[in-house]
Symmetry: C2
């Protein structure tokens, strides 16, 4: 029932989602990945990652800062932004450009191009990895002579749980 790693069914959160396991899993995977790469997941960075993973909503840097200060009173904006930069570089979180906010990556093991479905009601930011879509964009751009370096794909709308006629699946 936990579905923490096997996200095959739906990328959205459900009532049965066990977020405790979810976040624990994310932190474990991050530790393993950093160890494997020789990157230092310091306690500060681990705490920031944990705070970004508090939910599946994108969270602003200053919200992270405020929460971080409970365990780390001297924290200042650069404290958080540097940790966020590290986590982004290592693919552990993503930045949501349309929200100026950050969200945990659901598949940090390998670099990928993802698409986000962001619910305007509950804030849930679901990460897709649809290679047909990213591939179509790559081909279309390539045909126009444009060399793609990065894709930002963010859809706003209502997730299944927040739709008016939400017949749960």
């Amino acid at each position: 029932m936990v579905r923490s790693r096997a996200e095959a069914a739906s990328p959205f959160q459900t009532a049965s989602h066990d977020h405790g396991s979810c976040i624990e899993d994310a932190l474990d995977r991050a530790a393993q990945l950093c160890a494997a790469r020789g990157a230092r997941l310091t306690e500060l960075r681990r705490q920031v990652l944990q705070l970004v993973w508090r939910g599946h909503e994108a969270v602003g840097a200053y919200a992270v800062l405020e929460a971080l200060r409970r365990s780390h009173p001297g924290a200042a904006p650069p404290t958080v932004y540097r940790a966020l930069d590290f986590l982004i570089e290592h693919g552990l979180i993503h930045r949501i450009e349309s929200l100026n906010a950050y969200v945990g990556c659901s598949r940090p093991e390998r670099r990928h191009v993802s698409q986000f479905l962001i619910c305007g009601k509950c804030g849930d930011a679901a990460e897709l990895e649809d290679s047909a879509i990213s591939g179509a964009l790559l081909r279309r751009a390539g045909a126009l002579g444009f060399a793609v370096e990065q894709q930002t794909i963010e859809l706003r709308g209502l997730c299944p749980r927040c739709r008016p006629n939400a017949r749960a699946k």
Copy 2:
């Protein structure tokens, strides 16, 4: 040679691009559209639109503000942001989320979902309207039970003119 309206060939700028006609055309079309819709394209809004259209790069609100002050010394941030809001509502400009900046719409006559190809070197922001891509996103999201309200699709990279092996077409 102007290619101001018929963008069929390439959405990118070329050496032969006549931007004088381009911007004049954009302002004319904006006036017509607003008249037809009963919207008031005031002198202030028209000037802001003109400033956004100074080039095909996305331009920040404060850059618009600085330029606007030459003709409108008392302008303040709300002056610009309100005009930008009006222009966005009427589809005359788009906001580029990944740049916190604004760019003129190349086809303001009807609402559309567009994709932007943004050159990291020259800044050119080319607007595509690829219904296959927007449709694929709609279908994929719909299959997951997500009701899409808005699409933000912004690709960063190098445009044909800025690519190292740029063989002009």
